[in-house]
Amino acid sequence: MKKQKVHIYNNIFKAIVFFFALITFLSVILIGIFMIVNGGPSIVKVGLKEFLLGPVWNSANEPPQYGILAFILSSFYSTFFTVLIAVPISILVALAIGQLMPKGLGSVLRSIISLLAGIPSVIYGFMGLIFVVPFVQRIFNLSSGLTMLSSVIVLIIMTLPTIISVSETSINAVNKGYLEAAYALGVRKEYALFTIIIPAAKSGIMTAVLLGVGRAIGETMAVIMVAGNIPQMPSMLKPVRFLTTAIVTEMSYATEQTRGVLIGIGLVLFVFVLIVNSVFRFFIKKAGKING
């Protein structure tokens, strides 16, 4: 009799967790479908080629022009330069706190840097507005410091903690035997760091780069405050508008048609993230195989 009851409770519980899993599953699918159904037709209406390769964005024109090439290039350039500068810095810092410094000092610095990771992006934007923007304006003698350069500087600071912590984890996970073998052969530590540790930690560092790219492409609020937000082709010392900031800027006063196009931009971002993920996954697998 009692056994029967336990059985019922078990089944009820199983049904409940299955139901929760189902809701999660459906909402994941819903997001995808919703983005495609709402953004897809607008893209088709504008024409995929005009949409992706059109150089002019002017939603207030009659008829409106919805070319997002400038946004795509701006996002691409700023991400590229951010990663280009943030990755070498991060690797050096990761080597310092993971390999060179005494353990105590290393862990203190590690926790200080990890504090950066939790800071809300609006605070980064606010700091950028106070420090970076006037700085860029003065150094380059511009009429306004709201430029792509300012947003790249802010993005570098924002991506540092993520890239540092992930690459440090992979650097510390490298087999100690490799280093010991190198020392036994008379290799200096400084030399071994670059010829043994970094190549062996390659796949982990790739993951770190992937996270950095994801954060730089997707960042919105920090860059909207410092990028100047003018839809034009990217240039370091000019104001630019990114894919993410384009959505925020026009969403509040968008017409029905523009709103569809903005969801289309969201779709483009979605696809970018997918592509970046798959490409890096491929490389990480490859790098893992060579080392393994």
């Binding site: 950066l116 609020m221 709103r259």
Partner: protein, 293 residues
């Protein structure tokens, strides 16, 4: 003339490498400390009871942030109410009940993709779906719409962390319980969940941090109102800006004296630090406990 081979040779290359690494590290750490210290020193003197307890009002000349604190609290609470059962339930299902197969691995892949999507895309979805299609609350956003959007954002992390915590429970516990004839529900309730609890708590705390710092997804789903809520039940369907969104508005559009955004930034920073510190301490205790075993 002969050099002793035990003397360490000083090589310029080695010194240069060390100098480079230490300089870069020192620069990064100085920058971090400078940012944090500057904001807190600039903002801290303005934090007082009046700021924390009043609403912005031209008439009374107050620039308080009480409504934003309340809005942030609303969003955090509603998000947790929605995402904790969903996240933990899904994790239990994935870890304990699901059989490996194509659908489950597709699901895992989808969750992983979700974790990488920029929050502005979630905001876009929330606006189009919760606000415009389902019409939850007011047309310019509501606490509930914002919280549902946030729930979608924190779900992937919550599911993954909980599942990891469940899978880390020593398998012999489970086997021992099974061999004694315990039912699956009993094992989950009395063994797996208690053992995985610290991991789950850390996941929840980190989610709170994420929601507190979220802004892009909330701007158009939760709205931008800053009046003091009058009816606490009705406020769920009313729009309102949280701390981050209001800080963004003050910093870009003005509307308050210069010190207000500094004070808000300092409060946000301290809040986020406390949240992350708590998560770290709990995670540290958990690690110690596991290693003792």
């Amino acid at each position: 003339m002969d050099k002793n081979i035990y003397d360490k040779q000083i090589r310029p290359g080695v010194i240069a490498v060390r100098a480079l690494i230490y300089t870069v590290t020192a620069a990064v750490v100085t920058l971090v400390v400078a940012i944090i210290v500057y904001l807190i020193i600039k903002g801290l003197p303005y934090i007082n009871w009046e700021l924390l307890s009043t609403a912005p009002s031209r008439l009374n000349e107050t620039y308080g942030i009480a409504p934003m604190i309340i809005n942030t609290l609303y969003i955090v609470l509603i998000t947790l109410v929605v995402s904790i059962p969903l996240g933990i339930g899904t994790a239990i299902y994935l870890a304990e009940y699901s059989k490996p197969g194509k659908i489950i691995s597709a699901f895992r892949f989808a969750i992983e993709i979700l974790a990488g999507i920029p929050s502005i895309v979630y905001g876009l979805f929330g606006l189009a779906f919760f606000v415009n299609t389902l019409r939850i609350g007011s047309g310019s956003g509501s606490m509930l719409s914002g919280a549902l959007t946030c729930a979608l954002i924190v779900l992937p992390t919550m599911i993954r962390t909980t599942e990891e915590a469940l899978l880390q429970v020593n398998p012999t516990y489970r086997e021992a319980a099974f061999s004694l004839g315990a039912s699956k529900l009993h094992i989950i309730r009395t063994i797996l969940l208690p053992c995985a609890l610290p991991g789950i708590v850390v996941a929840v705390i980190l989610s709170i941090g994420r929601i507190v710092s979220e802004s892009a997804a909330l701007l158009y789903t939760a709205g931008v109102d800053y009046t003091m809520p009058t009816n606490f039940a009705k406020h769920i369907v009313e729009p309102g800006a949280g701390l981050t969104v209001q800080l963004y508005l003050y910093a870009t559009e003005g509307g308050a004296p210069d010190w207000v955004p500094y004070a808000m930034a300092a409060i946000l920073m301290i809040l986020v630090f406390v949240i992350n510190l708590t998560a770290n301490i709990i995670a540290g205790l958990f690690k110690k406990k596991v290693s003792v075993k």
